[in-house]
């Protein structure tokens, strides 16, 4: 009776311990963090810490975790192995033939690492406890931007000016047509216009219907546009793209698209 009663009790406490351990291992940021936390249980200044006792605490912690079949990250096991080695060095009398640092040196370094980590934790806490911008003290709310006016001054010399003018004038000399009157509709323009429209002219159409909008009324414009449109029609006929006909002298001149098969 008593046996059966005590076993479940142990099981429960073990399970609770295991759960606590899981939480704890998860909560630690690596072996050094765990060591620092364990060292706090010694309740002494980190400078007077017993590294030997700490090593034993760590090793028993790891043992317990292993008994509970907790998955331990490799670095926890590496630290355990190293602490076991350190423990043996601290316990055994120093062997003068052995090379490398003494157990005391290793222990001192571990103590230093722990103290440094603790110091940084403390510093971090102090830093975060400081008055902070946007929380305790504040920057100007209404800011005025510095308007960066970039004044650009442009320069040109008289030579630039004359060369510029010369350039335009020289260019003029090579241009076959100069649109130098408002009421001139060039053949180029007429050709351009008709090329765009001719595709639709399957039927005979008076070429006057190709005059651009706004050019029919003003006599000068009408004359220019008629002439250029006629010239353009001849050009298109020469290219074989249209057929052209006039039924009588002074009768309307008509064109139509030359059919592809015709």
């Amino acid at each position: 009776m008593s046996d059966t009663n005590t076993d479940p009790v142990i099981d429960v406490s073990d399970r609770l311990a295991a759960e606590a351990l899981i939480v704890d291992v998860d909560g630690f940021e690596g072996p050094l963090d765990l060591l620092l936390s364990l060292s706090r249980t010694q309740k002494v200044d980190l400078r007077q810490i017993s590294v030997l006792a700490l090593a034993e605490q760590y090793l028993s912690f790891i043992e317990k975790a292993r008994d509970l079949r907790l998955e331990l990250a490799a670095d926890y096991l590496v630290m355990a192995a190293w602490l076991a080695f350190l423990k043996s060095r601290l316990l055994l009398p120093p062997d003068p033939t052995e090379e490398g640092p003494s157990g005391e040196e290793l222990a001192a370094h571990l103590a230093f690492q722990l103290e440094r980590l603790a110091a940084m934790r403390d510093a971090a806490a102090k830093l975060m406890a400081r008055d902070q911008l946007g929380r305790d003290f504040f920057a100007r709310g209404i800011t005025e931007d510095v308007t960066r006016t970039r004044r650009v001054t442009y320069t040109a010399t008289l030579l630039d000016l004359m060369q510029g003018y010369a350039r335009i004038r020289t260019k003029d000399e090579f241009r076959p047509f100069v649109m130098d009157r408002e009421s001139v509709f060039t053949m180029e323009e007429a050709l351009g216009r008709m090329r765009g429209l001719i595709g639709f002219a399957g039927e005979w159409t008076d070429i006057l219907s190709y005059l651009p909008d706004g050019w029919e009324m003003d006599p000068a414009k009408r004359r220019s546009a008629t002439a250029s449109t006629f010239a353009a029609s001849l050009e298109l006929a020469k290219e074989g793209r249209v057929e052209i006909r006039q039924s009588d002298t002074f009768a309307p001149i008509q064109i139509r698209r030359k059919s592809d098969d015709g």
Binding site: A139, G141, I142, L161, V178
Partner: protein, 224 residues
């Protein structure tokens, strides 16, 4: 004259003071509070808002009066904006909020050509400039030349549509060291100076600029 602070006779506490559990901070503190709030808030703050943010029993209106006095003649001033208050740069220091960098650039080709045409053909309409250049003239180019004060609007042309004309300015003449636009070398001179290819002008019937221009320029410069 005694003021509140040095008054040796304690005044009777007003009903408000009795009511409020916590005494309002001294006026100097209130002034600091208003100063900090106005400094840090992103927009002007009303007296009501100040009241709402300051401890019970504060008198932000009075604190504002003190604060305004304190900032008199300073680099920033306490300004009333509508029914709210804000710190603003003292008006005379506005120039500090600007940073001017001067950059010299060469005038674009389009602008040089447009300017050349205006100077040789003034008064000239935009359509005429385009005709001469053979390409359209962007509004930006004209604007730039006007901004540089090198060209300005001349009289409207008395033709249908009454288009505006452009003429060069005194600033233009000064910049290019010209007494008048008539001093600009003509095409023949440009050619003989090697600035034009020595090719005879085609018989397009284009008038040599001199005569035509003279008329127009006479129109332009005789006014002065």
């Amino acid at each position: 004259m005694t003021d509140d602070v040095t008054d040796p006779i304690p005044r009777d506490p007003s009903p408000e003071q009795e009511e409020s559990l916590f005494e309002a901070p001294p006026m100097g503190e209130q002034e600091r509070m208003v100063e900090a709030i106005l400094f840090a808030t992103a927009e002007p703050v009303t007296v009501k808002e100040l009241s709402g943010r300051m401890p019970h029993g504060c008198d932000p209106a009075e604190a504002l009066v003190h604060l305004r006095k304190r900032y008199e003649g300073r680099g920033v001033a306490l300004m009333k904006v509508g029914d709210a208050y804000a710190f603003r740069t003292a008006p005379d220091l506005g120039f500090l909020m600007q940073k001017e960098t001067v950059e010299t650039r060469k005038l674009s080709r389009a602008a040089v050509e447009t300017l050349a045409i205006v100077s040789y053909h003034q008064p000239v309409t935009r359509a005429e400039i385009e005709e001469i250049r053979g390409v359209s003239v962007s509004r930006g180019t004209i604007d730039q030349l006007i901004e540089l004060e090198w060209i300005r609007f001349g009289r409207r042309r008395m033709t249908p549509g009454r288009p505006v004309t452009f003429v060069v300015t005194q600033t233009f003449l000064d910049h290019f060291g010209l007494e008048s636009a008539r001093d600009l070398p003509g095409l023949k001179e440009l050619r003989s100076a090697g600035l034009l290819e020595s090719r005879p002008a085609p018989a397009t019937g284009e008038p040599d600029d001199d005569e035509d221009d003279d008329d127009d320029q006479a129109e332009m410069f005789d006014e002065a």
